[in-house]
């Protein structure tokens, strides 16, 4: 029996190897292959999940409408699970084997930084959905990113604080790359706005209770406001723990709060949270002459119709922007990668979910502080904040 099993296995393995090495059937020539490396599962799946769904939805729609310049898009999504080593493997695979036109993603900064050099070497357009500023600073020729700059979010928050007369704050950050980068920016920019950080704490991305730390911070009566910087569920937990403890100083969140589910999870405690975000979350409340409005409403309606289980979030929006930018580049420059890259670098006034993109050779992010709007939570919904 065992012998038979063993032989069988040998056969299966040989088959796998042979099958694995047979050349991949080439797709029809006019298709544009777009690779995407996203953390659909694993610890960063709250990013990769909406991103993957958004891309699938968009490609379906673009192809239904005749494609880009008559060329159909072919989307290849690779689930990295948030693992850099897989992102590296997938990047090489997409570049050489699938010969994709461009790569969207990865979802996290750590992964993006690992494949930045690979994209440069292979002269492959990389449109990252990750936030860290090091991705585009220093600028790499082929690497772009769509989320707004942390530093702009910090400035927006500090600006609002100044208006409110707040100068002494506590900072809480998650121990993810996002939280870490935010912490750095918060500390660097504080003096510029005359703000003093009295306490700073880092919590685990899987933290489920922050009441102890809230109690500790609350004991410091000088703290006038709390800034929380993370992209994880703990954002809602912090709000609950603060309000339950009866601590009613203003709570500021980062632009990572841009998911209505966090508001739902925070319930009554989420009321009054102030945070900067792209305008996607308040699409309906925008004035009709806002250049982003049509696009934002359409994305929101489309997404929530196609995925009734899910609510639109800014994370999916980053993937939306990445593909929008790529499509705009191809529409302008055709199917020559170099020309598309140049076209993207020169895109101006392109509305996206995160803001209006204005790329330049020095700026591969293309967004400025005006892409942010200060939002707040009112009656369980996002609303534009006004003092």
């Amino acid at each position: 029996m065992r012998r038979v099993l063993g032989s069988l296995l040998t056969v299966v393995i040989s088959f796998c190897l042979v099958a694995g090495f047979s050349p991949v059937p080439t797709a029809k020539a006019e298709n544009i292959k777009v690779g995407a490396i996203l953390a659909v599962t694993g610890g960063a799946s709250f990013l990769g999940g909406p991103e993957a769904r958004t891309l699938e939805m968009m490609v379906e729609e673009i192809n239904a409408n005749g494609g880009v310049n008559g060329n159909k898009l072919e989307l290849i999504i690779k689930d990295s699970g948030g693992n850099p080593e897989k992102a590296i493997s997938f990047a090489k695979q997409l570049i050489e084997e699938d010969k994709v036109f461009a790569i969207i993603g990865p979802s996290t900064s750590g992964e993006t930084m690992k494949i930045k050099n690979i994209a440069e070497e292979a002269q492959m357009i990389l449109l990252s959905c990750a936030a860290a500023e090091v991705i585009v600073n220093p600028v790499a020729k082929y690497v772009f990113k769509t989320p707004q700059k942390d530093s702009d979010a910090v400035k927006k928050i500090y600006g609002t604080m100044k208006d409110l007369g707040i100068s002494k704050i506590a900072v809480l950050t998650g121990n993810t790359g996002f939280g870490n980068a935010g912490k750095g920016q918060l500390e660097n920019i504080a003096p510029e706005f005359g703000i003093e950080i009295l306490a700073s704490e880092v919590y685990d991305k899987q933290a489920t209770d922050l009441s102890a730390i809230v109690a500790k911070l609350m004991a410091n009566k000088d703290i006038q406001a709390v800034v929380n910087w993370s992209i994880v569920p703990a954002q809602g937990i912090l709000a609950k723990n603060m309000r339950q403890a009866g601590w009613d100083v203003p709570l500021f969140q980062s632009h990572g709060f841009g998911n209505i589910k966090y508001v739902e999870a925070g319930g009554a405690a989420a009321e009054g949270i102030i945070f900067p975000a792209g305008r996607l979350l308040v699409a309906y409340s925008l004035p009709d002459d806002n250049p982003q409005k049509t696009l934002l409403v359409k994305y929101k309606v489309d997404y929530e119709t196609k995925y009734p289980e899910d609510k639109v979030s800014t994370f999916g929006g980053h993937a939306y922007d990445a593909l929008t930018i790529l499509v705009a580049g191809i529409e302008q420059a055709g199917l020559d990668k170099e020309k598309v890259r140049d076209a993207i670098e020169n895109l101006k006034e392109l509305p996206g979910t995160a803001g209006i993109f204005n790329f330049s050779p020095e700026d591969h992010n293309g967004l400025d502080i005006n892409s942010f709007e200060m939002l707040t939570v009112k009656d369980g919904k996002f609303a534009i904040y006004s003092k």
């Binding site: 730390i213 309000r243 339950q244 403890a245 289980e309």
Partner: protein, 296 residues
């Protein structure tokens, strides 16, 4: 430290401590009847919470929780019957690997059913901002729910093991499996029952804690490690000691934020685990003599 701060820390510690204790008791129940550490124990807690949240959309919360607990118990029974029951004296290594596999599988199934998003049951009383004042500290009533329900479960379990014939049979099975078989106890059914029981208490804990901590597909392993630390700390198999150890760990974690950066809070349990394994593997409350008689 002000008295209010002290009370605040204390309650935070007790809340988590009692949850860890419930997970640890789940470990102990199965360990006692089978000698297996069920690495998938944390997944029972996850399943309880997630199913209750889904059910809550169709029915009142009390009913939803009851249904969730029942379903989780059935899942526990199924796991035992499909994966464990028919193995003839499997090695410890084999069981460790199988239960780890079950834990991964349960998590992945949950991911594909519920997706990656985080959910929560509504608060049993009031809402997210409701709080009651105890000795100057302000505590969410849900914390009292957690402490109350979990304490009741612990008390109920002790009574069950002490005074019901079923409970006594399970204890007999734990003490000496072969002897129990000779006395006409169906040890296989006792093992199934132990899985059902520990799945049940895990699910209840998963429901009551959900409003406070949220539920998502990946919450299991973290809880399992804390629970295991507590089980070892109390001495494997000793459920009352597990409660003490759970409270101890919870309170240490809560108070640690006043001296250590918050980032290290989760490392504390692991450090304690290693420390206790190195210097006193039979636990704080166990005796080494008794531990050495157990087979590993």
């Amino acid at each position: 430290m002000t008295p209010e701060l002290f009370i605040q820390y204390l309650f935070a510690g007790i809340t988590y401590g009692i949850i860890y204790a419930i997970v640890a008791i789940g470990f102990n129940i199965i360990y006692n009847t089978t000698g297996i550490i069920n690495f998938a124990q944390g997944e029972f807690v996850m399943l309880g919470g997630m199913i209750a949240i889904t059910m809550n959309a169709f029915m009142p919360m009390t009913l939803a929780i009851m249904v969730a607990v029942l379903i989780t118990m059935v899942v526990g029974a199924l796991i035992e019957m499909v994966f464990i029951r028919w193995l003839e004296s499997p090695s410890v290594l084999r069981m460790i690997i199988i239960t780890i596999g079950i834990s991964i599988l349960a998590r992945e199934v949950a991911l594909h059913i519920w997706g990656e998003s985080v959910r929560a049951l509504p608060y049993f009383i009031g809402n997210e901002v409701t709080s009651v004042s105890i000795l100057g500290a302000r505590i969410s009533p849900q914390v009292l729910w957690v402490i109350g329900v979990c304490s009741l479960m612990v008390a109920g379990l002790s009574l069950f093991f002490k005074f019901t014939s079923l409970g006594r049979e399970m204890r007999a099975c734990a003490a000496n499996r072969r002897a129990a078989t000779l006395c006409g106890i169906n040890t296989k059914n006792m093992v199934t029952l132990s899985f059902v029981l520990s799945a049940g208490i895990g699910a209840v804990a998963g429901c009551v804690m959900s409003p406070i901590t949220y539920s998502d597909y990946s919450m299991g392993p973290n809880l399992a490690i804390k629970g295991f630390t507590v089980a070892i700390l109390g001495g494997l198999g000793n459920s009352l000691a597990a409660v003490a150890a759970g409270l101890l760990l919870g309170i240490i974690e809560a108070f640690s934020v006043s001296v250590l950066p918050l980032a290290f809070q989760d490392a504390i349990a692991t450090a304690i685990l290693l420390l206790i394994l190195f210097i006193r593997p039979h636990g704080l409350f166990g005796s080494s003599e008794a531990a050495s008689l157990k087979e590993f």
